[in-house]
């Protein structure tokens, strides 16, 4: 097991900064997800770690050994890093067994392969060729191939993106179990927040060339560092409010508030994060609850997402509300809303 330490990493491509001063420590033996929007430099980071690219500045250390920086660049073949790319990228001219055994020294190629195939649940398929396997099986072979050389660190580059949705979850859990059993430090790159939250011990979010937050999934969802991140890791309502002590006054009423970090002050303007599932709608019954008009109603089977414009009509903010199952309201209807639970607040800046 090895800790992965990245310090002040910089990388430019053709004048465009991709990574600018990135710091990240991946604890030994952890399963960390690197989450970021498309084109934000996630793959670049993985390629730097694997040694396919060289950082312009900064250091990379694997298990205390510097592999990049201070004038050194350890070649990919000397890094002991397992790399599983998006499409699996099995060698098409080799059988499954030969793929798995690819990185092993010649005498060791015979035995060990069947054992590895067994570990990924593909025993007996060693004689097949990649094109004879399903997408999920190919990914598992790619994983076995990476694990064959007993890497200290395994890098997964959106390995489940090309799989069908119904297959994805199974393969993902399987991979997680195998990697846990192998005891490697794992870094998984993904642009899907639900995947990151579901699979990882820790999630590092890459934005603007640096890691903006590195935390456990529940913490990331509940305590994002800013509004943009809050929206990135799930649906979010960002509305204005005024805070007074530990209560924030919002268009949805007075709600118990918690600061992200240290409280900044009393009686100041803040941005409030209310998750859609914290809001409930019901038919107005003359009480004091805030009113709104449903402007959109998206049915997803397991839940329904409503867009509700708060009064006064056409001027008030629009909030997203998630209700389980089928909603009993239709667009155009008037509803009243109640929020429950505590809400996160940040001092109001240009937080969108």
């Amino acid at each position: 097991m090895s800790e992965l330490v990245l310090t002040d990493l910089h990388k430019r491509f053709g004048g465009q900064a991709v990574l600018s001063g990135l710091d990240l420590t991946v604890p030994a033996g952890s399963f960390t997800a690197l989450l970021g929007a498309s084109g934000v430099g996630k793959t670049t980071l993985l390629r730097l770690l694997a040694g396919f690219e060289t950082p312009d500045r900064g250091t990379i250390a694997i298990g205390g050994r510097t592999v990049d920086g201070e004038g050194t660049h350890v070649r990919p073949e000397q890094r002991q890093i397992g790399y599983v790319p998006q499409e699996g990228s099995l060698f098409p001219h080799l059988s499954v067994a030969a793929n798995v055994a690819f990185g092993l020294p010649r005498p060791a190629r015979r035995h060990g392969v069947e054992d590895l195939l067994e570990r990924v649940g593909l025993e007996g398929l060693g004689g097949r060729y990649p094109h004879q396997l399903s997408g999920g099986q190919q990914q598992r072979v790619a994983l076995a191939r990476a694990l064959a050389v007993r890497p200290e660190v395994v890098l997964l580059d959106e390995p489940f993106a090309s799989l069908d949705a119904n297959l994805r979850e199974g393969v993902r859990e399987e991979a997680r179990r195998i990697l846990r059993a192998a005891g490697t430090t794992t870094l998984l790159v993904t642009h899907q927040q639900d995947e990151a939250l579901a699979i990882a011990d820790l999630v590092a979010v890459l934005r603007d060339g640096t890691i903006v937050q590195h935390a456990a999934p529940h913490e990331l969802y509940a305590e994002p560092v800013d509004g943009e991140l809050a929206c990135f890791v799930g649906d979010a309502n960002l509305i204005d409010g005024v805070i007074d002590d530990s209560v924030v006054d919002t268009p949805l009423g007075k709600l118990p508030a918690r600061w992200h970090g240290e409280p900044v002050g009393a009686q100041c303007q803040v941005t409030v994060l209310i998750r859609p599932e914290q809001i409930a709608v019901h038919t107005p019954n003359g009480d004091a609850a805030p009113l709104g008009r449903v402007i959109r109603c998206g049915y997803h089977g397991h839940d329904t997402v409503l867009h509700v414009q708060l009064t006064p009509d056409n001027e008030g903010p629009v909030v997203i509300v998630r209700t389980l199952g089928q909603a009993t309201v239709a667009p155009g209807e008037r509803v009243s809303l109640t929020a429950h639970g505590s809400v996160l607040v940040w001092p109001r800046r240009a937080a969108r």
Binding site: T54, R57, D68, G71, H73, P76, E77, R79, R145, V149
Partner: protein, 523 residues
Amino acid sequence: MSVAELVPAARASRPWTLLALSTAVAVVLLLPLVFLLLQAHGAGTATIAHLIFRSLTATLLWNTVRLTVVVTLLCALIGTAAAWLVERTDLPGRRVWAVLVVVPLAIPDFVVSFGWSSISGRVEGFRGAVLVMTLAVYPLVYLPVAASFRNADPGQEEVARSLGLGRAATFWRVTLRQARTAILGGCLLVALVLLAEYGAFEILGYQTFTTEIFTEFNVSFNVPAASALSLVLVALSLLVLGGETTARHAQRVSRSGALAQRVGSRHRLGRARLPALGCLTALIGLALGVPVGSATYWMLEATHAYLTGASLLEATWHTALYSGVAAALSTLMALPIALLSIRHRGSAYQLLERSTYLVLAMPGLVIALALSYFAERYAGGFLYQSAPLLVIAYAILFFPLALVGVRASVAQAPPELEEIARSLGQRRPSVLWRVTLPLVAPGLAAAFCLVFLSAVTELTATLILVPTGVQTLATQFWAYQQNLAYGQAAPFALAIIAIAVVPSIVLGRFFDRLPARATPATR
């Protein structure tokens, strides 16, 4: 930004070995051009200028240019029409036609020429040359255009129809636009072949630059005149190359969405079916039937006492030997260039690759002259008319063809696989041997076939460089043909066709399986 930020820490090591090999290849490829310039320089600028600016040059220019223009246009028309019929309509027997239409490529131009002129004295001069050359080289347009029709997005035609365009307008504004790059690429090849052709024109008695250069060099031994005319010929070829490049860059073909293969519905020919079948039958009859039939006729006509099986076998052996070695050499030379330009970013690498395209502007005759000049002048006559020099000439002459095959395969092989091999602990040479070479093997085979096929059917450079006392199929055919011994020449022509047909069918299959992106006409 501090200074330290601007200085890269450690660089991933540069591909030095690959770079050295590629540079060596590029140098070898450009040698003929250098020799040609040295040769011309040796003759004196004034002499060369005098030789260029005379009325003979104007005549040759007129003959060469008008033939090139007319044949290129005809080939564009026939090649595109045939490709459309085979790939886009419900023509009966499409699979058979797809093979038959391409086979004439395996018949050397001088054999087509021989086939026609030996049965009718009226096939000669400009009209004869137009007829013969069009029939001999139209597949060069057919092949890329058919590939482009196969890979074009049928959705575009459907959208055009739904937007209210009629069939003709759709064909004109959408289908032809899709195929434009391929048509241009095919025309480029046709034009370059016409500029370089010698044998067919010699038989037809049509005077062009190549026939004149050949006469000056081989009959009059007038080296300054030959090199002066060669300069003009190379300039013409460069002009054609440059024109095609400009035209190709002026347009961009993009395809939105994934490159999912979707087969569009074929056009119904309806009542046009019979005429279309008639046209194709006539085309195959003229391009394939006449040369093969005529050669067969002369062979059967001849008294068998003349037929010496031994010389045929020996010539076949030499042809196969030289062509095989040249094909292997050319393919090997193409590998580092293709790897460097596709696998490594850098404008210097691209420039290195581009420089090799200059070879396209060097007709076989000019390469042969330049190399023989080099052998006489610098190698003390040691290499002159030796097998190695002939093989090197073939390898240089057909290098662009080898590069097409190798490049397509390297571009198809995902670089991620090489990276993964490295992350699994393999060093670069091991990665090359265990991953890259197996992946590009089909391309290497295709490159080999392409060069082999071309070398077997090559005549001009062979006539100049063939080792003394040795005959290849082409030179033996030529010798008999020159003496009007048609019966003795015919078996050699048929042997060439027989050898060339196999690789040409293998090739057709290879290029059919590639997506359009990997085979833009000549690159």
